[in-house]
């Protein structure tokens, strides 16, 4: 093991850990980053969408050499029932801008690239190294970590935990509670390969343009969850995720759900003839603001998924991860320069800084959404998509029935299924949770 004392140790080499280690190393601090995978990204799974803004704040010219797949010019939101989908599409030529706003990426490749940037900035990065626990002094301050290497103790002024949603170090050290089945989603995903010209013609794209589809409805069998399909350069990422508590209650197999989504008449033609090259599973922190643990203490900070930083409504995560990683590191850099100790009181500055960013503002805005979604799952993910499909079918089918009778049929189908009072109640609850 490295016989040295560090200014900071970063646990994990995902987006939050890399953002933190990069920021610290660039500012001249002596940083050690520990990653349990063979390479950065080998244990990481995401859809994945990269939002430029958060990365630009770290590496402004990232577009020059980062492994990006396609820039997103079209977003589709689909409500599925068994045979149909009702959709909203937004496509804009303005997304074909000089510096695009969103890209699809392949995480294993992107994280590897980011990790190289971290090393170039001067951090010491050790792969294949699992952190077992935190080391504390007699007063309880975190002063280092114990790894699974021989003589694997290593010391630092501060430890940044960027160990992801299933991070055991923070939990087993009592820094955060055990995850609850109703605050995490289990998502499964496959990578489907197709020639790029096939992808482009199927999705009406040219060059590096990309499409993302987010879908909800009967495909989750009444469980709280969503599915997705993202176009990469020569592959399509397709996945589905639902709350762990719902999977447990319903005893549904995630891979069966994925097969169901893939075989949906709206999805199957998009994947036809593809070659599958990977199947992955991962947890996503979906508990929102109320599930955020304590973010700092004596000698430690928590960032990214470990801190539950996912905005489930907008499907944002890696940008929150990179932002929290950067802000945590900036806090450490400032304290280090001022020769201040990494105490709980001083590290509280991390949270103060975060309050001023979109991260905590957005998380707070949607604090009531997880409970709303979970409490109304049968209606939101089952009933409404079905009613909407039925209404569209009635509306568009020309069958000799007069239009007034069609309107009546649509209204009565909604009222029979959900009563006017119920629908108003749902709308009201949604509005209240949204604020």
């Amino acid at each position: 093991m490295v016989e040295q004392r560090f200014d900071a140790i970063v646990v994990g080499a995902g987006p939050s850990g890399n953002a933190a280690a990069y920021t610290l190393a660039k500012e001249g601090l002596n940083v050690l980053q520990l990653e349990r995978g063979e390479y950065a990204g080998s244990k990481n799974v995401q859809g994945a969408i990269l939002y430029s803004d958060a990365l630009e704040k770290l590496i402004p010219n990232f577009r020059e050499d980062a492994p990006l797949e396609r820039h997103v010019i079209e977003q589709r939101l689909w409500m599925l029932d068994d045979a149909s989908y009702t959709g909203m599409h937004y496509r804009s030529e303005e997304f074909n801008e000089e510096k695009p706003n969103r890209y699809t990426i392949i995480r294993a490749q992107f994280d590897k690239w980011f990790s190289q940037k971290v090393r170039d900035a001067g951090a010491t990065v050790l792969y294949e190294t699992t952190v077992k626990e935190l080391i504390r002094n007699t007063s309880g301050k975190v002063i280092g970590v114990q790894t699974d290497r021989e003589d694997g103790a290593v010391m630092a002024d501060v430890v940044i935990l960027a160990e992801g949603v299933n991070g055991l170090v923070g939990q087993r050290s009592g820094l955060r509670d055990e995850l609850k089945p109703d605050t995490v989603a289990l998502a499964v995903k496959e990578m489907h390969f197709l020639p790029r010209d096939v992808i482009e013609s199927r999705f009406n794209l040219k060059g590096d343009e990309g499409v993302v589809i987010e879908a909800m409805g009967s495909v989750t069998l009444g469980m709280t969850g969503t599915a997705f399909l993202y176009t990469n350069e020569e592959s399509i990422s397709v996945g589905i995720g639902c709350l762990v508590s719902d999977f447990t209650e319903k005893r549904e197999a995630p891979y069966e759900l994925l097969e169901r989504f893939k075989s949906h008449p709206a999805i199957a033609p998009l994947l036809a003839g593809s070659e599958v090259k990977e199947y992955a599973a991962h947890l996503i922190p979906e508990g929102g603001y109320n599930a955020i643990p304590s973010l700092f203490g004596d000698g430690w900070l928590m960032v990214g998924d470990a801190g539950h930083f996912v905005n489930a409504v907008h499907r944002e995560g890696s940008n929150l991860a990179m932002t929290t990683g950067r802000v945590a590191a900036e806090t450490v850099v400032r304290l280090h320069r001022m020769r201040k100790e990494m105490t709980k009181t001083n590290l509280a500055e991390y949270q103060e800084r975060l309050e001023k960013t979109f991260v905590l503002k957005d998380m707070r805005k949607y604090r009531k959404i997880p409970a709303f979604l979970h409490g109304n799952k049968e209606t939101l993910f089952g009933l409404y998509p079905r009613l909407l499909s039925k209404a569209a079918q009635t509306w568009f089918r020309v069958d000799g029935l007069d239009k007034k009778a069609k309107e009546k049929a649509i209204v009565s189908s909604f009222r029979q299924a959900r009563t006017l009072r119920g629908m108003i109640g749902d709308a009201f609850k949604l509005a209240r949770a949204w604020r």
Binding site: N44, E128, T129, T130, E190, M191, A253, K277
Partner: protein, 99 residues
């Protein structure tokens, strides 16, 4: 869909993935039991890698070779303490090429 065909299907999926198995050192273990808890029984269905299965005696067994280290089983059994869950040693376990 029968359970048998499902099991085949998930095995086929895992076949795409790359693993470095730490032979003789399973990172997930089940506490010995006579009758499985509801949480353990749920895992035979919801584990995305199909690592959990019932044996002839009606007990739940785990074969974590295909584990994708998501942590679902750990969370589901947090209250029942049915399983002991650790990460594989550094460098071992699943290695995503795409992720």
């Amino acid at each position: 869909m029968s359970t048998e065909t499902d099991a085949v299907k998930v095995e086929e999926k895992l076949y795409y993935n790359r693993y470095v198995v730490d032979a003789g050192r399973p990172h997930v273990k089940i506490r010995p039991h006579e009758v499985p808890s509801q949480a353990l029984l749920a895992l035979t269905k919801i584990c995305p890698a199909g690592c959990y299965a019932l044996n002839d005696k009606g007990q739940v067994e785990v074969t974590p070779d295909g584990c994708m280290e998501c942590g679902t089983c750990r969370i589901v059994c947090a209250d029942t303490h049915d399983i002991e869950w650790n990460y594989p040693r550094g460098g071992f376990g699943v290695l995503f090429k795409f992720g």
